[in-house]
């Protein structure tokens, strides 16, 4: 299916609109500009996001604020071990309001434009896999019937890096379906002061956010993202970076061709956010870590040396 956001936003207004979205988000979220940029990039590329951070970093607030400023329906799923797939996708219920009992499909929270699956690694693998189809195919199958999800659709999943007991680590196949794994770091001292002030001076801090763009405009922005031209040599560099992950000694396994596709797309999205009408090498360098870090596996020797995925990616990018 080809969607079109025709007539909704002009290309010369793209940067202005993106800046307005960031401005609206900054009314609620203090700092974290890089994280917001990466989330917006993913949205421009029609990709799903895996957010990793300690609890209390404002992940849920960030996701809901972004969806509000874009005018998207927002849904939140708190993952627990007893969460069932039907709790996510929806289920058939008996409707007898018309006097005749009939099965009617009741949509689950997945039928929103932006779905936040909190602590996804606490859900069982069966429930996690229920999200796979929605992430990749933008549809869910209940019983023997498939339901298409309304575009645009994004899944933002979060996980806690420090508490692993009682969790079900996401399998590589599912990790690969996330376009980016975004790490949310602790805020700077001044930023934290601002956060404390902002959320302690009012009983319920909830500023009015303007809806900057419509859903159709977002789809148009996604079309523009795909149109951003890239030079052949930069494209070649992307492929070389991804291929290098498969040969690197410090890695048990490398990234798939889907990683190459996502890295080029992410670089295009980043170029658009940076108000550039072509992909620069800088876009690739900036996007390499969030796109690749969850698609590679460190070897035991590398972990013993204290290396992280980001260290290896940086080494690869610098070497290409």
């Amino acid at each position: 299916m080809k969607l079109s956001g025709k007539g909704s936003v002009k290309y010369d207004k793209v940067n202005e609109k993106l800046a307005e979205i960031k401005n609206e988000v900054s009314k609620v979220i203090v700092g974290q500009e890089d994280v917001i940029d990466q989330i917006l990039t993913c949205m421009l590329c029609d990709g799903n996001i895996l957010l990793e951070s300690n609890p209390g970093m404002g992940k849920t607030k960030m996701a809901s604020t972004i969806s509000e400023s874009i005018g998207l329906d927002f849904a939140r799923i708190q993952s627990t071990p007893d969460l069932m797939p039907s709790d996510i996708t929806g289920t058939h219920i008996i409707d007898d309001s018309s006097g005749k009992a009939e099965f009617e499909f009741q949509e689950g929270p997945i039928f929103a434009n932006m779905v936040l699956a909190d602590e996804i690694n606490r859900a069982t693998p069966k429930t996690q896999s229920a999200l796979l189809e929605a992430m990749q195919e933008k549809q869910v199958t209940v019983g023997n019937k498939s339901y298409e999800l309304e575009r645009p659709f994004f899944l933002i999943a979060t996980q806690n890096p420090i508490e692993q007991e009682g969790t079900y680590p996401l399998p590589e196949a599912q990790m690969d379906r996330f376009m980016m794994k975004i790490k949310v770091d602790f805020p700077e001292h001044e930023e934290e002061q601002d956060i404390v002030k902002r959320f302690t001076e009012e009983l319920n801090y909830d500023p009015d956010l303007n809806k900057v763009i419509s859903r159709a405009s977002l789809i148009k922005l996604q079309e523009f993202t795909r149109q951003v031209p890239i030079a052949d040599d930069i494209l070649n560099d992307v492929v070389n970076i991804v291929r290098a992950t498969r040969k690197k000694q410090e890695l048990d396994y490398g990234a798939s061709p889907r990683a190459s596709i996502n890295l080029v797309l992410a670089a295009k999205g980043h170029a658009l956010i940076e108000n550039r009408n072509h992909v620069s090498q800088k876009d690739v360098d900036v996007m390499a870590k969030p796109v690749l870090r969850h698609r590679i596996g460190l070897s035991f020797a590398a972990e013993k040396k204290g290396l992280t995925e980001d260290d290896v990616i940086k080494e690869i990018v610098d070497g290409v």
């Binding site: 290309y11 010369d12 523009f224 149109q227 951003v228 031209p229 890239i230 030079a231 052949d232 040599d233 930069i234 009408n277 072509h278 992909v279 620069s280 090498q281």
Partner: protein
């Protein structure tokens, strides 16, 4: 809309061609300078070493060197050269070049951007100006040395044999049938009395008349005749002289 996008592509193609022309201009200039330096150096060294050579050989060397130099310099042309020298074009030109077949709004915006930024790009921007100035100074120095060496070196062996030869040929040709020197009146078939072989004509005149004092004492008279006698070598022509005199009187 489609026409506009096509125009953008055409403009970019035109720009890429223009940049290639600018590149060739710079390389031709550099090769010309290198060739000039080579020619002047060879000429100067040959002069100092008193080696004579055929100018055609030097011309051949210069032509060959120019072509090889130009081929060497132009072998690696790419738009990246302009990007390196013009930071505002960084990655723009090659992206535009690699996406010439695209017809969408973002590509069109890129083409427009490239055209705007490339407006100031000329061959000057890819000339290594410092090196060029150095070469120009070298050419100037060699030219001055070549010119000055001809003035200050005294032992210049100028071959003047050709000049003498030409002069003699001229003299010889004048002594041929078209001889116009000597007594050419030839009215009465007389012989030429001009000594062509010598540069000195010896004429002595001996007078037999009375002295100035004697003439004063005697007083001037109307029928007094002054008599002169030619040198003995000319006495053979006395008859001829007389005949001339008579003819002249008759004419008068």
């Amino acid at each position: 809309m489609i026409d506009g996008l096509r125009d953008g592509t055409v403009r970019i193609e035109g720009l890429l061609k223009r940049l290639k022309r600018e590149y060739w201009k710079v390389k031709i200039l550099q090769s010309s300078l290198d060739t000039l330096i080579l020619v002047l150096s060879i000429n100067f060294i040959a002069f100092l070493s008193s080696i004579s050579y055929d100018y055609r050989i030097l011309g051949g060397i210069a032509g060959g060197f120019f072509l090889l130099n130009l081929v060497y310099r132009t072998r690696g042309y790419s738009v990246e050269i302009y990007e390196e020298e013009n930071s505002e074009l960084q990655e723009l030109l090659r992206t535009a070049r690699d996406n010439l077949d695209k017809r969408d709004e973002v590509s069109e915006a890129l083409f427009g951007d490239v055209m705007d930024r490339a407006r100031t790009v000329t061959s000057e921007s890819i000339i290594p100006s410092e090196r060029l100035v150095q070469k120009l100074f070298l050419v100037g120095g060699l030219s001055i040395l070549t010119a000055v060496s001809g003035l200050v070196v005294p032992a210049i062996d100028v071959d003047t044999s050709n000049v003498y030869e030409s002069f003699n040929q001229l003299v010889d040709s004048e002594s041929g049938e078209d001889d116009f020197r000597g007594n050419v009146s030839n009215v009465l078939g007389e012989e030429s009395d001009l000594d062509e072989t010598g540069s000195q004509v010896d004429i002595s005149i001996v007078g037999e008349g009375e002295s100035f004092e004697e003439s004063v004492l005697r007083g001037f008279s109307g029928d007094t005749e002054l008599r002169y006698e030619a040198s003995p070598e000319l006495t053979g022509d006395e008859e001829l002289m007389r005949e001339y005199s008579l003819r002249i009187r008759e004419l008068e």
